[in-house]
Structure formats: C-alpha cells, structure tokens
Symmetry: C2
Subunit: 138 residues, 2 copies
Amino acid sequence: MTDVFRNRPGYALRRAANAMMAELARRLATIDLRIAEASVLLLVNDRLDVTASEIGRTLDIQRANMVPLLGRLEDAGLIERRPIDGKSQAVLLTTKGQTRRAEADAITDTFEDELLQRIAPEHRDHLVPALGALWRAD
Amino acid sequence: MTDVFRNRPGYALRRAANAMMAELARRLATIDLRIAEASVLLLVNDRLDVTASEIGRTLDIQRANMVPLLGRLEDAGLIERRPIDGKSQAVLLTTKGQTRRAEADAITDTFEDELLQRIAPEHRDHLVPALGALWRAD
DNA sequence: ATGAGAATGCTATTGTCAATAACTATCCTG
DNA sequence: CAGGATAGTTATTGACAATAGCATTCTCAT
C-alpha cells in the first residue's frame, strides 16, 4: 500500500508519540506506574511545597483529572497530602515514593536515551526544539 | 516551577502530539470527522480495492477497532463495503465520501503546513525523519 | 481433495488519557 | 465584608487503543 502518510508531519507525530508511549507504559508498568503517575512523581520531588493544582498547571492536567491520579498515588503509599491552608494542599513523596521516583527516573532516562539513539545523528538535536515549537504554540 | 521536562524528548513528544491532535480534531470537527475517520478516508481514495484489514494494517488500527470506525463512516454515507470474496470486503468511497475526503485533505494539508511554519527553519526539515525513526523502530 | 492453520470480520469489554460541567469551600482583594 | 478568583472534588463523556474470544472463509501442503 502506498505510504500516503510517510511525509505527513501530523501523522508521523501521532504515530511516533503512540509508539513511544506504548513502550514507555510497558516499561513503567514493571514498577506499577502509569505514565501520568510517573510524571507527577518526577515533578514532585523537585520541590517541597507543590500544590496539586500547581502540578496540574505544569503538566497540563486538569484539576478534575488530578484527583483520581493523586488518589491512586496516595493509595499506593507513594505520596502524602498535607494541608497548606484550608484550601490548598501540598503533595509530598513518602519514603516509598522517593524510592519509586528514583526507579521511574532511571527508567525514563535510559528510555529517552535509547529513543534518541534511534534517530540519525544529523536529526537528533533538532527533535526537541522542533517539538517544543509545536507544543508551546498550540 | 522549574520546567523539569523541557528537555525530555519523550515528554516533549507527548505534549506536542497532544496539542497537535487537539487542534486537528477541532478543525476536522467542522466537517464532522474524527481524526481516525479522516485518516481512513484519506487512505481509501488512494486505491480502489482496499480491504478493511489492509487499512487496519497500514494505519495500525486493530481489526476490532476498525469495525465501529467503518460502521460510522458507512452510517454517515461516506463509504460502501463491497464483498471481494466470502471473507474480505473492499472499502470504497461514495460520492459524498469523495467530497468529504477532499475537504479533509484540504484541512489536513493547510494544518500541516501551518505546523511546520511554527518550527524554526533550521529544525523544520529534521522533524519528519526523526519522528519516522521513532515510530518505525518501536 | 482435504484437513490444518491462517486470515477476515465481528462482539464485548477494558484501559488510559483527556475534557466538561457543576458544586462546595476557602482565599484574597478592594 | 462582599464579590470574584482559586482549590479541590464529583460525575460524566469522548477518543483512541488493547485484549480475548468466536464464526466463517480462504489457502496451502500433503
């Protein structure tokens, strides 16, 4: 079948993202994390007083979708919620969460290294800037 | 918040694909098509005797998921199914389907042009090859 | 020519991520 | 202190994808 879509940036983007996410999901499943959960863990460690809504804004996850996400992480004993004031709550990693975060970090790091290795050297360094332009324009 | 993910190819890929698909979905909605439906329409016109399973293989859509997809296109009067033998069936565009396909083609073409325009010239030509390497490796 | 295995189409269900709307309670600011 | 913004929540929906299982038909090697 003629590869009608070979040169279509939109289609290539969709397929590449799909393949990438499928593989990453498979790898993260070995430590019982979904992609969205792992990204939250990776983010949280960076600060000590991150609120749920702040995480949502950074990762572009709607407040409504943060609720079950954080709920699962809490049920798994990976995060704790601590009230900041009557309205906001800080999200922080438990000891178990820190361990899991380190594992997730290792998995995603090696995965992304491998991803880049698949790209011909002359294209490699252009990928992230090009993607950045697409994502931040929306 | 520190942008922990700024330089992560996996994350950038996910976000870019997401933003792209959201916008494309919005544009295709004006002609009552989902992204997956549009890609089938675009593909079908290219040949006259494409079978459902062949479409699925090309677009990486599982047989099980092709069923409702083609069902919707048929309900909308855009495609017809014609038995090839007792087992396979050809998918072909109705007149209405050809018109719709042309509209979808126009929308996706200008959309993808605009996408590329958002990327700095020095990165632009590297995007599709880089994505291709990621998608075809999986 | 036939019998085994592959291919096709289908049903039904599940999962992941995301979007929307509506609600409550709290906060911040003028 | 009143009004509007913000935080968290509930519930529902949608799009795309994956899995398992089933019936029929085709194909190919013996």
